[in-house]
Amino acid sequence: MSLKDVISPFNAWKRAFEKPDTIVKPMSDREGAPNYRGFHINDIEKCIGCGSCEEICQNAAIDLVEVASCQAKPGDSGLRPLIDYGRCCWCALCVDICPTGSLGMSNDYTWISEDPEDYRFVPGVDDKKWNGADKGYRRQEEAWLVEPEREHMPEKTPEDRKNDFDEYAMGFSDEQAEAEAGRCLECGICIQACPTHMDVPKYISEIKNKDLDEGLRIMFETNPMLEACGRICTAKCEDVCAVGHSGKPIAIRSLKRYIGDKTYRKKDEIMDLEPVEQTGKKVGIIGGGPAGLTAAFYLRRLGHSVTIYEQHDKLGGMLKWGIPDYRLPADVLQREIDFILRQNVEVKYNTKIGKDISFEQLHKDNDAVFIGVGAQIGSDMPITGMDTEGVYSGVEFLEKVAKGERPYVGKEAVIVGGGNTAMDATRSSIRLGAEVKVVYRRSEKEMPANREEIREAKEEGAELMILTTPSKIEKLPSGRLKIECLKMELGEPDSSGRRRPVPKEGSEFYIEADVCIMAVGQKVEPEFSETIGLKVTKWGTFEVHSDTLKSDEKVYAGGDCQTGPDDAIRAVAAGKKAAYFIDKQFKG
């Protein structure tokens, strides 16, 4: 130790002359860093209340609550996160998982209240000084905890698939299905959007658990037509999928198909349906489509006897006659129907109500009647030349294709319409060797067909002629059709929310084709409605109670014949609902 050691510490005084680094007024606010994890903010319009934040919060600091300014609607639970700052640890995992990107954190960290209750609030709803703050932690793209890209199902190339009616989508491999299932947050926002409310998160989680048998049982709780739906469902669930807000939605339909494909061989064994006590009640079902088959299955599970009256020689309805094999192979549909029939469902094939058996008889013989006849008749357009030879309706054309006939399409075909029937007719015509033009009066964005149907039709070579409508059809001496068309423009939105097309004056032009297929809508067979004498709406659909599907004391109706032309899953939902209310009626 030296004298230096005594003097040297006085060097500390030098610092007294330096400019201090501390803030002069300690109480003045120091702004947090641009990505500081401070109090939460939430864009209440963007938030869908999926609850992923609640699920990932390890402190249980987040609770989804009802708020006055948000209403539940498809794709939005109407709930919003309430955060308890006595529990929050500011880890921001809630922000990193948020599929909409609505949840964030402000860089505000100085706030004091004497009331402990103030520390529980709903960000974005309760008035806080940091609402709308532009600084603070936000989920960066790379920090999102969810994989944004979906697995791509292997399928045949457009060149390869357009020559035959074989199924072109091959289904997921095990690895793909597990990877795709792994993207699911299991938030359940899809359940409400599904007409039959399939428990999507639960069966997807069974894929993760590699327990496909349980997955099948879960699906059967709400949908006995899952193999068909796994291929052709319009997948309203995917439209609202939470992950879809920042990436590609989960391929829910393909995962459903995966479970179906992997389990159909052992369906009886897996389902192991125990015989139920028979009630002795009899239900007659008119129409063996998805609505009728579903109603039959659930009614049998409830112990009621069921007889299906089917006008064709095969069951399946529009799934059978309206959807070509390349989307839904006949054997897949048949094995699914066979399983339902094995639940002791009686079927009277080739039986037309009013011809082979009277409705009164049916009404008398059964304790309840369910009508699920669908909308089988193609609508006409109010233009001249509809009865020209070579002009078909879409449903008629597809029925012929389904029966194995190969209707004449010539070299060039024109399909009128923008729905799924139009796309099916388009792609079937391509497979029959025609070049196809699709004439649709609105723009592509407004086409009601599934996006992938439109994309795949285009891949296969269909030409879209949007904002165009046919105005006259006549036969040329050559035997070909001359179709006069008008160009359209979009006006104000109509009652459906889509913009109304208005013809442009003097915009007539002509196209030639060998055939013209009209797929501009379908309606319930008017003669059938007259035969049974049920009340109908102005659109010709049966008027029933919207909740119970009940018409008079014994008669129920559901599916396309009640809603107008719609998709299979809505028909399945109607069948399930009718079974429930018929059973309820029996039980009093």
Binding site: V6, P9, A33, R37, Q58, L145, V146, E147, G182
Partner: protein
């Protein structure tokens, strides 16, 4: 080997010769919530017993009931001054068991993060060491300078104390624009601080007279006590996980750990001064050598229901206080079966302190305790 433990002596507490006092769990000199039971004869400690358990939060048990991703925000809370080591080790254990390879740039950013945390903890430790001998000025300087580092952490991670930045799969996101320049300014400030500490602490008659010869740990105690880190290096045992079992990118950096000889409080403090300078050098090396662009994160599939195949692993890293380890057992479910956290100061802070305290004056016990880098939060996971 010579027995380290002497026979237990009996003290007649009724003789009036001795007085028994408790220091802690609430006491300004004790580092965190632990308690010392002291038996004094005059000013000299005859016998000491450490009491821990006041800060037990049950992290290890909590983790058994939490999904892997939900453990991520917890683990940093095991150690306040240097949480990043916990984040890294938890991530490293899960990645090893799940077979996940993280991107190259993420490894460098992790090392940067760990060195920043070590630097902050080391300079705060220097301040604590001088403060324990009544030299409070240096404590204030050190804490203030650590705050500059915390500013950098805040900018990088969004949080000052608990960063929650090293996540399984990599790091949460990339460095902010211009971060390196701002960090360098802080490093320069800390270098100046250390040169001031040289003058005010290491060339200080008070510190020298009290710290030299205090709490000497003989070299042959290091292994039986399981002492690691700068405490071991102060006694001349050159063991550093970064050098001896390199992880992340430490094998691509040039450095030599500093080793002392005397094994007393002064030697340990000197080693820590060198450690701070080493961390500064390493941060500069990392910033210069790291890949400038590239992904920083591997996305973990289905993170909310992440299942890790059955297995077990022990991962370790050099923290500011020595070897820090995580032993993890998984059983193929969404939850860890067992996580054991080996806190770095666990081996130093209880039995060794009891042993070294014999014969030390009451005034020096805190200086001794700080020099062992006692950290109750990591003793009690």
């Amino acid at each position: 080997m010579k027995a380290i433990w002497n026979e237990t002596k009996e003290y007649d507490l009724t003789s009036g010769k001795y007085v028994k006092i408790w220091q802690g769990p609430q006491h300004p000199g004790v580092t965190g919530n632990m308690s010392l039971e002291l038996l004094l004869e005059g000013d000299e400690i005859k016998w000491l017993k450490t009491h821990v358990g006041y800060l037990h939060r049950g992290f290890e048990k909590l983790m058994e009931r939490r999904k892997f991703i939900n453990c991520f925000p917890i683990v940093c809370r095991i150690c306040v001054p240097e949480p990043d080591t916990n984040e890294y080790l938890f991530a490293a254990a899960t990645e090893e068991l799940a077979g996940i390879e993280i991107p190259e740039r993420a490894k460098w950013i992790r090392a940067l993060n760990l060195e920043m945390a070590r630097l902050g903890a080391t300079i705060m430790g220097l301040g604590g060491q001088s403060g324990s001998f009544g030299l409070g000025t240096i404590g204030q300087w050190a804490v203030a300078h650590r705050d500059f580092l915390l500013d950098s952490f805040e900018e990088l991670t969004g949080g000052r104390i608990y960063h929650m930045y090293i996540i399984p799969g990599g790091v949460r996101y990339d460095l902010p624009e211009g971060f390196e320049g701002r960090l360098e300014k802080t490093l320069v400030k800390i270098e100046k601080l250390i040169s001031d500490i040289d003058k005010v602490l290491f060339n200080n008659a008070v510190f020298k007279s009290r710290a030299k010869g205090l709490g000497i740990i003989p070299k042959d105690w290091i292994e039986p006590f399981g002492i690691t880190g700068s405490t071991a290096r102060g006694s001349g045992v050159n063991y550093d996980v970064r050098k001896d079992h390199p992880y992340l990118i430490y094998d691509q950096l040039d450095f030599e750990p500093n080793v002392g000889t005397d094994g007393d409080v002064y030697a340990r403090t000197e080693v820590r001064r060198e450690e701070a300078l080493l961390s500064i050098r390493l941060i500069r090396q990392i910033l210069a050598r790291m890949p400038k662009v590239g992904p920083v994160r591997t996305r973990i599939p289905d993170i909310m229901h992440w299942k890790i195949p059955a297995g077990e692993t022990y991962v370790k890293a050099e923290s500011g206080r020595g070897e820090y380890g995580y032993y993890m057992v998984t059983d193929g479910t969404e939850y860890p079966r067992r996580v054991h956290v080996k806190g770095a100061s666990y081996t130093h802070a209880m039995a060794l302190l009891e042993k070294l305290a014999e014969g030390v004056t009451n005034a020096d016990i805190f200086g001794l305790m700080v020099s062992l880098q006692t950290c109750p939060p990591e003793i009690e996971r």
